[in-house]
Amino acid sequence: MLEGFNFRIIWEYMPLFLEGLRNTFLISLISLFLALIAGIIACAGRLAKWKLLRGVAIFYIESMRTTPLLVQIYFFYFGLPTLGFRIPELQTGILALMLNSGAYIAEIIRAGITSVPAGQIEAGVSSGLNYFQRMRFIVLPQALGVTVPPLLGQAIVLVKDTALLSLISVMELTRCGQVLTSERFMPSEAFFTVAFFYLCLYFCLKTLADWSQKQLIFREVY
């Protein structure tokens, strides 16, 4: 199956692959951080009392969840220049990833907050805690345990999503595979190596996610 698999070529292109791996890692990390902020804001909007704000948040979350990421990337890539914003591909890609993951993260956080029973909040009210104290001491500590495992799941999805940035020629891992394919025409060497690196990232994150899940069960028992 793999006779004639050329390891020498992979070795020759290793610096390129490592650079791609680094870029994928950095793009994921930055996007995840920005998506967390976007998600928290969107979730706050979603749970707000003001109807207009809630409407905007619902529109944002649902429009992100019902359309493919690739369409969103193209939307910003082809759309922003017509509005007069000329930003490089990398920033466009990070913007799209941030907004896309932000919508999912908003829903994850909302599920966490609403999972705290109303009785807990009522108990907080009757102990004389104000809104921020209730959030700080009662809701968030309980919501966090429910939120962390799916957040790590979203991080896994995000890492895989960065592969789509290769289509707007951002130099990340998948793009390196495309470069090797077009320069030497060796698709199997190129894409199996790319897949291997993604699997490494996946297993690191997966281990972390499973571990956090165990911690959660541990906390529930006591």
């Binding site: 199956m1 649902e62 429009s63 969840r65 019902t66 359309t67 493919p68 990421l69 690739l70 369409v71 969103q72 193209y74 939307f75 890539y77 082809f78 759309g79 922003l80 220049p81 017509t82 509005l83 896994i156 895989k160 999503d161 960065t162 592969a163 789509l164 290769s166 289509l167 998948t174 595979g177 495309q178 394919t181 698709p187 199997s188 894409f191 199996f192 790319v194 897949a195 993604y198 699997l199 990232l201 996946y202 297993f203 997966k206």
Partner: protein
Amino acid sequence: MMTFYFQRLVEIFPFFLKGLWMTVVVAASGLIFGTICGFILGILRSGKNKLVTRMIGVYVAVIRGTPFVVQIFIVFFIFPEWGIQLEALPAAILALSILGTAFICEIVAGGVKAVSTGQWEAAASSGLTRIQQLRLVIIPQAMQTILPPLVGQYVLLIKDSSVVSVIGVVELTRVGWVTVVRIPEGLMVFSLVGFLYFVISYPLIRLSNYLEERMAVQETKL
């Protein structure tokens, strides 16, 4: 200028409908194959044979750990090296089926495992064969846990089908990409593309939410 482009867009709208049809064809075929294979593998995965469950586990991990773009490239560029020459459309359907199988397999296995062992034992002691146990006792109960995430997974797969545009299948995203070259109004073109995806995926999201709520109600009744 905007109105001029808008008129052009209205003129070529049938082209978009063709793209929508192609998306439906790719997604539906992928979903059907994915569901059939996913159910078979999922039931095998929940079984006791260690070797089988391990092998399916490796398959699932590899598919879940790599981006769909890379999988498409592997199917389209590397399978021919092994003598499996595929046109763009069959390659797209194959890739989507492989992806769908992995995710649906996990959902089904989870649902089957959630059925209590007492049910298995009761079915076995009623003299049912292994197939009958599954068909008459286990699957109907497992369906309740399987259905909501399954429909949710369908939405994700429909959105993932946008990625097959990279190998030149003229579906919705590809239509948008081709159009934006002639009508340089990225926001308008990709809003339309996004809206058409919304038309397919939103009813499914509502269905998934409805099933989830119904299940929650049933759980409280028990």
